[in-house]
C-alpha cells in the first residue's frame, strides 16, 4: 500500500520565507494603509468617476476651435522650440560635466565631488519647480521655460551619460596619457569616441522627455501648449482640452516612434 505512494511523498522541503522579506512586506502594507488614510483615499471614487456627469462636458470636441492655427498649433510649435533649444543647451553642457563627474575621466577629486553634489541637488528639484522659480526670476513666457528645461535636461543627461563614461574601456585613455597627452585631449581622443553613440542615444531620449515636459510648462506660466490648457481648464472647457489631448497624443506618439527607430540604429 505504501510503496507506490512513497516516491510522491519525498517532496523537497519548501524553503521558509525569509524574515527580512516578511518584515518588508508588512512594512509596505502598513505604510500603504497609513498613507491611504492620510490622503482620504476612497475606493468608491473608481465607480463614481465613471458615473460623474462632468464627463459630458468632454464631448463633443470642438474641432474647428482645436484645429485653428492660432489656438493650438502655434503654442504647439512654441512647445517644440522650447524642447529643441533646451535639449541642445542641456546636452551640450552635459558633455563636459559628465566627464567631470565620472571617476575615470575626472581631472581631480575636488571637481569630481563638487560636480556630483551640485548635480544631485539639481536633480532633486522637480522640473516644474525650476520652471516656476525661473518664471519668477526672468518673467512669464517661453524664455523661462526653455531655461528650466535646459537645467532639467542637463540633470537627466549627466545622470545617464556619466554612468556610461564610468563603464568605458580605460585602456585607450591610459595609452593617450602614457604617450604624454594632456588630460582634456586624452579624454577627447581616448574616451569620447567609445561613448559617443550612447551620448547621442541619450540626447534623443532626453528630447522625448523634453517634448512631454514642455507640454506642461505652461501650467506654471512658462510658455507652450500648457498655457492654453491652463486657460481652458479655468473655464471648464473640457471638450477643448480633450481636443488638445488628442493632438498631443498623436504628436508624441509619432515623435517617439521616430526617436526609438533612430536610437535602435545607433546602439
Amino acid at each position: 500500500m505504501t510503496s507506490p505512494a512513497s516516491p510522491a511523498t519525498t517532496w523537497p522541503k519548501k524553503p521558509r520565507p525569509q524574515l527580512s522579506i516578511l518584515v518588508g512586506i508588512l512594512a509596505a502594507v502598513a505604510f500603504t494603509v497609513f498613507s491611504a488614510r492620510q490622503i482620504n483615499m476612497q475606493l468608491s471614487t473608481f465607480i463614481d468617476l465613471w458615473t460623474n456627469p462632468l464627463w459630458e462636458k468632454f464631448w463633443p470636441i470642438p474641432w474647428e476651435w482645436v484645429l485653428n492655427r492660432h489656438n493650438v498649433i502655434d503654442p504647439l510649435i512654441e512647445t517644440f522650440q522650447i524642447a529643441i533649444v533646451s535639449t541642445l543647451i542641456g546636452c551640450s553642457l552635459a558633455l563636459p560635466v559628465s566627464f567631470a563627474m565620472s571617476r575615470l575621466t575626472s581631472p581631480n577629486k575636488v571637481v569630481y565631488y563638487s560636480s556630483r553634489t551640485v548635480m544631485n541637488i539639481v536633480r532633486a528639484v522637480p522640473d516644474l519647480f525650476w520652471a516656476k522659480l525661473l518664471v519668477t526670476a526672468v518673467g512669464i513666457g517661453a524664455f523661462a521655460g526653455a531655461w528650466a528645461l535646459s537645467i532639467f535636461s542637463l540633470a537627466v543627461m549627466v545622470k545617464l551619460f556619466s554612468e556610461d563614461v564610468d563603464g568605458a574601456d580605460p585602456r585607450p585613455l591610459e595609452a593617450a596619457k602614457a604617450a604624454g597627452g594632456r588630460h582634456v585631449p586624452s579624454v577627447a581622443t581616448g574616451v569620447l569616441p567609445t561613448v559617443f553613440p550612447a551620448y547621442v542615444a541619450y540626447a534623443l531620449y532626453v528630447f522625448e522627455l523634453n517634448i512631454r515636459a514642455s507640454l506642461v510648462l505652461g501650467l506654471v506660466g512658462a510658455g507652450g501648449l500648457g498655457r492654453v490648457i491652463e486657460a481652458q481648464r479655468q473655464f471648464f472647457r473640457f471638450g477643448r482640452i480633450l481636443g488638445i489631448l488628442v493632438i498631443i497624443f498623436v504628436v508624441v506618439f509619432v515623435l517617439e516612434q521616430i526617436s526609438v527607430a533612430l536610437r535602435k540604429r545607433l546602439v
Binding site: 471614487t45 526670476a137 506654471v220
Partner: protein, 293 residues
Amino acid sequence: MTADSHISTEARPQRPVAARRWKWAIATAIIGATIWSVSGLDVSIERVMSAPGDAWAIVRLMWTPAFSTEIKRGVLGKVLESVYIAWIGTVIGAIISLPLSFLAASNVTPRVVRLPMRQLFNAIRSVPELIVAVILLGVTGLGPWAGALAIGLHSVGTLGKLSSEAIESIDAGPIEAVDAVGGRWVSAMRWAVLPQILPVVVSYWLFRFEINVRASAVLGMIGAGGIGAELVAQLNFRNFPEVGAVLLITIVTVVTIDLLSSALRRRIIQGGTGEDRSKSGELIDDLTGIALG
C-alpha cells in the same frame, strides 16, 4: 632599419567619405533647428545676458531660509503628504500593471491580445501626469486623492511597459516544464514566470516611487495637495526666505528617498551575497536609463 621604414611609409587610413557627408547633413539640420527655435522664443541678447543676474538675485533673496516660519505653517506635514500621494500612486500603478504586463509580453501572450495591450500602455504613457491630473481634478475636485489617482494611472503605463519587457527576457525553461506536466497558462505564469521577474519588477516599482515623489510635488502646484501648493503660494507672495526653506526641505526629502530606495533596489537585485556584482550593477544602470520616462 626595415622596421623603421615600414612605420614611416604606412599611411594613415582615409576617413570614410560617406560618414563625413552624414556628419555635415546632421550638423546642418541641428543648426537649422536651433536657429528656427531660438527665433520663435522671443529672446534677445540683453535678455539672455541679464537672466543669470536676475536668477542670482532671487537666490540671494532666499538666503537665509525661514525654516521656523515654514515649520509653523505645517510644511513638514505637506512634504509628507507628497510622499503619501507618491506611494499610493505607485501602489495603484503596481497592482494594476502587474497582471496587465503578462498580457503585453510577446513570449507568453498571443499577438491578438498583446498588441492592443501594448498600445494601451503607450497611450497612457504619452499623456503627462499633470494633464491627467488636470482632467481628474476637474471631475473629482481638488485633493490629494485625485493626485494619487493621476500618478497611479500614469505609472500603469510606464510600469506595464517595463514589466512586460522583463517578462520577455526570462528563461523559457520553467514555462516549458509547467507545460510538460500539464499545467494551465495561469499556473505557468504563477510558478514559472512570476518568480523570475519579481525581483526586477519590485525594483522597477521602487524606481517609479522615486520618480513619483517628484511628480507628486509638482502636482501640488495645480492643487492636488502636498508641497507644491506651498511653494506656489510663497512664490506668488514673493516670500523668498520661505521659498528657500520649502525648496531645501523638498531637496532633503527627495534625496533621502532616492538614497533609501536605491540601496533597497541594489539589495533586491543583488541578493544578500553580493556576488555577480558587475552584472547587477549594469542592470541598475539600465533601470536608471529606461525608467526615467
